[in-house]
């Protein structure tokens, strides 16, 4: 039974995501289109599974929701801060720097989400990983305290992601 389920749904989360996205793409919700979405959600992961190394292990979805809300709030604040810097700060007063963040996260999905979060929030862009994946290179728009930025990212985002992706 377990084997058959695994054969039919190699990536359960991807199946759900594809069905939901397909239903949202329709202009009106109909049961027929939802069923077609579920069929797509079964067929697409099945066809593409040779290119997936292995199914990502699960994460705690209940802890994901407060994290998403926190990031959305930070994006709004970040937008206002960056807009203020763009409009008022002259070019020679900017202090852009590289910040290196030592990573405690080891799972690729967690590192991807951390990098995406960093790019979307206050004046920081994640630029590169080190070749063995132990540190993340981040470019900051304007700071006089690179250590502070590093500690803020580790405390605010990485600590929460560690609890989501065990």
């Amino acid at each position: 039974m377990r084997g058959a389920l695994h054969w039919l749904f190699p990536h359960p989360l991807l199946t759900i995501l594809l069905a939901v996205v397909w239903s949202l793409l329709q202009s009106a919700f109909t049961p027929g289109m939802f069923v077609f979405g579920v069929i797509l959600g079964i067929v697409i992961p099945k066809i593409t599974s040779p290119w997936w190394p292995d199914a990502p292990r699960s994460f705690r979805i209940t802890r994901m929701i407060p994290y998403v809300l926190l990031v959305l709030w930070d994006i709004i604040v970040a937008n206002i801060q960056v807009a203020w810097i763009v409009l008022t700060r002259p070019n020679d007063k900017l202090r852009p720097t590289w910040v290196v963040i030592p990573l405690e996260l080891r799972r690729p999905e967690a590192i991807t989400i951390l990098a995406g979060t960093i790019t979307l929030t206050p004046g920081t862009i994640s630029a590169d990983l080190s070749n063995e994946g132990h540190s993340l290179l981040v470019h900051t728009l304007d700071t006089d305290d690179p250590e502070g930025v590093r500690d803020e990212i580790k405390r605010r985002y990485e600590r929460r992601l560690k609890e989501i992706f065990l």
Binding site: V21, L24, L25, S27, A28, I75, I76, A78, N79, V82, A83, V86, L87, N91, L94, P96, W98, V100, P102, A115, G116, I118, T119, L120, G123, I125, S126, A127, D128, L129, S130, N131, E132, G133, H134, S135, L137, H139, L141
Partner: protein, 129 residues
């Protein structure tokens, strides 16, 4: 004050907020000098700019027409793809060495973009020259 009037005001305000942030993104792209700094303005301000416009579209469709949730999908796709394109542009700058180069990482040998396999060292030397 009917629901229609409140909705019209909400639409107007979201449109103004959205277009203001789009404008700021464009100004930032034009006026900064350093290539890495210029990357900051459009990637961040763009999300909020497009977000404001999409919010206006959603309020409009729910008050005056059939509701639609397509805007949420656009927002989702934008949030997933914006960091990836920013990451790619940053990697190109690192690769061409057109920005101030970072120090090597503390734990590993080098940054992934600068890590050239031995077989490609000759090609890399030619492209630098």
């Amino acid at each position: 004050m009917t629901a229609g009037i409140i909705a019209t005001w909400a639409i107007a305000i979201s449109l103004l907020i959205g277009s203001f942030f789009c404008l700021v993104g464009a100004i930032g792209l034009l006026r900064f000098r350093d290539s890495m700094v210029r990357l900051h303005a459009p990637t961040k301000v763009g999300t909020m700019g497009v977000g404001g416009l999409l919010l206006a579209a959603m309020i409009h469709s729910y008050t005056f027409e059939q509701g639609s949730l397509h805007e949420l999908l656009i927002m989702g796709f934008l949030f997933v793809t914006a960091p990836i394109s920013a990451n790619f542009i940053a990697k190109v700058h690192l690769h061409h060495r057109t920005c101030k180069m970072p120090d090597p990482p503390p734990h590993d040998e080098t940054w992934a973009t600068l890590d050239v396999p031995e077989a490609d060292l000759e090609i890399e030397a030619q492209s630098d020259a």
